[in-house]
Symmetry: D5
Subunit: 147 residues, 10 copies
């Protein structure tokens, strides 16, 4: 993913200020993963949220407006991501995609989990055998419409 110049500036400011996504969560009142998505130009904020983000990062308010425009989303550069952390999510879909499909259809009928009316959260679960990453996805079930 070629980071846009906006993303570059925001990340550089964040690094310089030493602010974490968790800090931003408290300031903006939205989940840190969503805020990271705004910064990576995968989600769009409203002007108030955007202003809070850029102000917290010590940037001029004029940088807020671009964060409100619906971005061209996606486009990790290689079709199949090569970064190991991101690849694991591709692998999960390759390995568990069909079982997930079967279980969801059995529970809900024909339709999908929305990736739009959708939330995504990350938590650290401490564990003496090694901490665990808990990723929670929650999307509205959309049944196929008949017509």
């Amino acid at each position: 993913m070629a980071r846009s110049k906006i993303t570059e500036k925001l990340l550089a400011a964040k690094q310089a200020k030493g602010i974490t996504f968790e800090d931003l969560e408290k300031i903006v009142g939205r989940d840190e993963t969503w805020i990271a998505s705004v910064i990576y130009r995968q989600a769009s904020a409203d002007l108030e949220e955007a202003t809070k983000i850029v102000t917290a990062l010590g940037l001029s308010e004029s940088m807020a407006e671009p964060l409100t425009i619906p971005p061209l989303k996606g486009s990790l550069e290689p079709t199949i991501p090569t970064d190991p952390l991101i690849y694991r999510f591709y692998e999960i879909m390759q390995v568990y995609g069909m079982p997930l499909k079967a279980v969801i259809h059995e529970k809900f009928g024909d339709g999908i989990m929305s990736a739009i009316d959708f939330t995504l959260e990350v938590e650290k679960v401490e564990d003496p055998k090694g901490d665990r990453v808990q990723v929670s996805m929650c999307g509205k079930f959309l049944p196929y419409k008949k017509w």
Copy 2:
């Protein structure tokens, strides 16, 4: 994913018997998504678990052993899945992959969420505005080893 003949037989038996993955969860004592993964030959059971599954489906015990062999995993046929339900997980990785990476690194340092020491659960969250699909992934954080 060209379903193997074993998967075909197990699914046909399951359909004929009218047993759900949830029923199997109660019988086998394992999560229904994992059981579905065994049936789709993406995970391997031990002989006791495999026998419980095939027996519950009314099949001969000789069908249990193949479920214990580590399978060749993955390989949904098109590289990028075209089934809308499965595609949404690819989209989530395309859109939210970089933000997830940023948040996980911030919380844990350099490393990944394991997709092997990993659990995956699906739940139905009832909601008057439309039920929601809750997918919970929980994988051990593996820090990059230095040497």
Copy 3:
């Protein structure tokens, strides 16, 4: 798209009986494109609808049940379709995708047109300079959820 055996049988019966999709629309009380989607195993019917379809085609009622199972959707064989009729829809997306995105975002904000809560109709518009194909797509607008 390797037509499944079920699709093969239904299409052969339809051809033999000389029934059109429009005839099926009257019998089933659903749009002909949706019915074609059921026959091509891209949509799932309920048992009553499925029974009407197979009966109209002169087939045994036992063929109705498979039409009620959520199918593995998509998967035209080449990633970019080579059939000229189908390719034109790929071309429309390639050429008009960005303008459409801009207009939809301007009218609705950040979000998408659902392809699930969605209808698709085809009509013949007679025209002395050459009849026209009218394709109408109508999908619910799904705004991106923030969290």
Copy 4:
């Protein structure tokens, strides 16, 4: 789609002026989606239309001429688009391509819907359960010539 510099300038001017595609529709006397296509360099205008567009955006008339040159069309960067809004049109073709083909051939015989002698309109359909996006495509039917 790497936006050409021309497109960049036009979009920046449009954003700065606060003009919508709908406003341009009224000024130019052409549909807003077509105008968006000209701005994204997917369609070519005549000099009068082009001049109206650039003038409305507050730009110098010398910017009109490039909009009259037949562009190199298409080329969204990834072969399969990753932007969720645009992807849905790819999904529609994957899922409904064969049914559409069957219905169109039945209604018209062997041939295609032209994507050249073609119009494309977007409308907002208000709906208490959630507004809907209505996309209307209308292309001349072109029967295969025999020779």
Copy 5:
């Protein structure tokens, strides 16, 4: 291109009977390349034409009807053909595509050469330095519609 069984049968009969495409041209009253396209299931004939073809090949009339159904066209197996004769047409498009585009736009304006309202003929041009293959393509110019 996996030859369909129909194509296999027709080609085998043609080989056995020792009939050339040129002979078929005289019998059917259509160009030999078009007839070859019908036999390869890339074009559809009407019942009279189809009957002439199968009869000339010494096959039963019941084989005529399948030749009248609009086929799923295209799909040479590798996306970029490896057969040297067919590849040369891909090469011509790669090398001369942009110059052709420039010349056609200059002569006709923005639009395309139809590949549907289109004829394709092959002739042998005798030449003492080595015979030449003359391929003539003639398609209707379709100007882009504005709306």
Copy 6:
């Protein structure tokens, strides 16, 4: 096809001067499509031809020499072109490739039509039902050598 800087300059000069490829054909004494191929750096001219071209475009003679160097040919950017005009030639190969192969082999034996000892011409055929684009390809037949 990322146009080389040379091509950019030549096309800009051509546009500024208002010279057509047909004008160049008269000046250079070569077919306009071939001249367009030289300008797009897909063919190489000799110094005399190159000088005529750059002079006609009002450019300095020093620009002639680069047009005499054998270029790296081909490389339209997407493997399968997305520009509709160029795509049609890909479609023709996909749909008519096998029939063409069959007819050429029948007329000439095993071998190919050369794309090197080859000419390519475009003509406008006026037609009251809509003008037609006539593309004539003529390549030497090369029989496979045995050894």
Copy 7:
């Protein structure tokens, strides 16, 4: 490369009879690599050559005719071959393609080495440090035609 059934039979007969390609070279009076190409259905023989081949392999003469039909050539299954021996030829083209192009153009001007009017021979060069494989390709130079 999915070996055709013909190729399978010829290779099985060759293995059973213990005949080498070199033996066939003596019997047929053609180079062993060309004969191997006929057996792999990449080249077509005349009836006399084909009869010599099948007779030498102890097969019925009726197997000769298929070897005279121009085959659909190429199509190693993966686009980039994975077999190490064959891959090395791909690697040679990747690494030495541009230098070869430069040297050939310098020696011959703009054009190509024909892969049709072409011979290919393999020889064993004994060497105390390890025998060497000598592959000799010799193709007619085809200069680009101007028109």
Copy 8:
């Protein structure tokens, strides 16, 4: 192949000086194809050879050192080359790859022709029917090691 800046400079100097690869062969005492490979950064020279090359091209000696560093080899830009001269080598591998493999295995056993302990030469073979390009590849046979 995006030519590196070093290659660009060397080729420009060579063009300006009017030196051929054959001239360089005499000066450096290595084959011209190998020298071309060094210039295209596909092979690495030692400092003496590199100095001879850059000096012969009239460049400063400081340009010699970069030619001694093992380069990142390969990477013609499109996976399958579109330049007709280079493509022919891909075609040769597609068409003659399997026959070559069969002949080499028969002569040498299981193993490969090295593309590293390997030489590549080009010669012009004059011929009244048209000069021929002779490409000679000679690589050490490497038998598969057992362990």
Copy 9:
């Protein structure tokens, strides 16, 4: 990797007999990974080794000969493997490929590690924090030949 029928039979016999690769190592006197490679038809044995393998698996000696023929190697079905165990080796090459290249060139000069004159061993390294897989690759360094 579509397992050949030979591989299928050998693996089934091995499973039925309950013999491990380690047992075969003792019987054949070759490393177990190499033996597994013979069984998967990626390496070829001599007749004596092959006979030991098939005999140990309780199969008829006539199954030994096919194991002596140089196989068409490689061709895991998806270009990028989706099986998690195999994928990790692709990931290692993606992540560590360039560093490895740099270190090897520094130690050895320009050349490669042979994958032909090559051995590959797997060992289990017991470790209280979790056992480790030790994969040892050892290939002859092949310096690039100059000519």
Copy 10:
């Protein structure tokens, strides 16, 4: 792999100083391959290690911090690497991937070798018949978790 600017600077400094990876190993107290991975931005160091590296290369300490940020890993430019040295590791996976999988599963059960909790070392093994490259990979075995 487009080398980042940081990598470019570090490598240039290393070349200018004439320091080897082995020298760095002694200075930093970490394996040279791991250090090369840090320099190629595939691994992240802590600040102390990073400072040692940049200081050893004679660079300012401010260059150390970027080396501590978890990088976007992978992304060799072509999906299948064309550099011969790197390709051999892809070939090893293609040819020996399935046998490795079989041997590892037999030794350890269902699971994978971690590429994260993983070390990679290169050694030169002197050998009179030609030195050998010894690559040792050692990763923790991760058994698939059941849930």
